[in-house]
């Protein structure tokens, strides 16, 4: 049986989600998505360019019938901005599965959790399925789940920092208590970070910069695909207990 997971009633096989920002161009982005083997990509909602009509369109490179588009609210600092953005996204694409992020601070891009909870409640009332970007605070994670978010997405480290999973204890606590999928969103820098997130029991990992700003994004996309699979299998396999001292692997009996 294949090891799938479910978000808001949709079944996914790939446990890697990638962003579509910061790539050299959409062609590179599409090649990375293919190499990563992803089913979901995050996208942003922005004004149409009225002067440059020949500007390439994301939808021409990443077909929304091949990939589930997950519209985000990047750049929104209030619940109202986020809701306005996602209403437009729903109209543009016809999808109600969205990624909510309400930011508090330009320097850290840390989420404003009070506004995030408020926005989540309002969006869920309007019928949206809300995957929510949040701090790694298990108390807020539970509140977001209680108001009806369909996936909890704590940061591993600040967006675009590539610092890796800074607080594995909290990620594990969030995973342990959650009844909906938990995804590490933000902070992954290289393959081992993605594996660590999966080994902690996360259902999936979301990343953008780690792939887009690698020297070879396509190769890094492939590395991330394997890392997520490796981390997931290690989690399912159940790691050996850690010991303080050595324990020989070869038999002591029969030594010459």
């Amino acid at each position: 049986m294949s090891d799938t997971y479910e978000i808001a009633g949709r079944t996914f096989l790939s446990r890697l989600i990638i962003g579509t920002g910061k790539y050299q161009d959409y062609a590179e982005n599409a090649a990375a998505a293919e190499a990563a083997g992803v089913e979901i990509v995050t996208v942003a909602v922005r004004r149409v360019n009225l002067t440059d009509k020949d500007k390439p369109l994301l939808v021409d490179y990443l077909d929304p019938s091949d990939y589930t588009y997950l519209p985000n609210t990047a750049g929104c600092f209030t619940a109202e901005e986020a809701i306005r953005t996602l209403r437009l996204a729903r109209e543009a694409g016809g999808w109600k599965l969205v990624k909510l992020e309400v930011l508090a601070d330009q320097k850290t891009l840390y989420p404003d959790m009070m506004e995030t909870v408020r926005a989540a409640e309002l969006l869920i009332k309007e019928g949206f399925d809300v995957m929510v970007y949040c701090t790694d605070d298990p108390v807020f994670a539970r509140k977001l789940e209680d108001v009806g978010c369909c996936a909890i997405m704590p940061l591993g480290a600040p967006i675009g920092s590539g610092l890796g999973i800074q607080n594995p204890v909290n990620i594990r606590l969030i995973v342990e208590q959650a009844r909906v999928p938990v995804l590490v969103d933000a902070g992954v820098g290289t393959a081992s970070d993605a594996a660590i997130a999966m080994e902690l029991g996360c259902d999936a990992v979301l990343m953008n910069t780690a792939i887009a700003e690698a020297k070879d994004p396509i190769q890094m996309a492939r590395a991330m695909r394997y890392a997520v699979i490796a981390g997931r299998e290690a989690y399912l396999a159940g790691r050996m207990p850690k010991k303080l001292y050595a324990d020989p692997s070869s038999p002591l009996a029969g030594l010459i």
Partner: protein, 66 residues
């Protein structure tokens, strides 16, 4: 008739529907979403919604983002 489209003022010949406006700017209705005075204009209403003096319109699409 003056309207604001994506933050810029445009002086256009009326009467004009949302659908006419999209045509004038060569925008495919399938790939975008339209908001008028902070209210979503459903795609099904593009050809019936008339624009009025002072309307503030936002036309958006999906772009790359994380």
């Amino acid at each position: 008739m003056k309207i604001t489209l994506n933050g810029e003022t445009h002086d256009l010949e009326g009467p004009l529907t949302v659908g006419d406006l999209l045509d004038q700017f060569d925008l495919k209705p399938t790939k975008i979403a339209v908001e008028r005075n902070l209210e979503i204009v459903p795609k099904s209403a593009f050809d019936s919604e008339e624009l009025h003096e002072g309307d503030r319109l936002e036309v958006v699409q999906f772009v790359g983002g994380g």
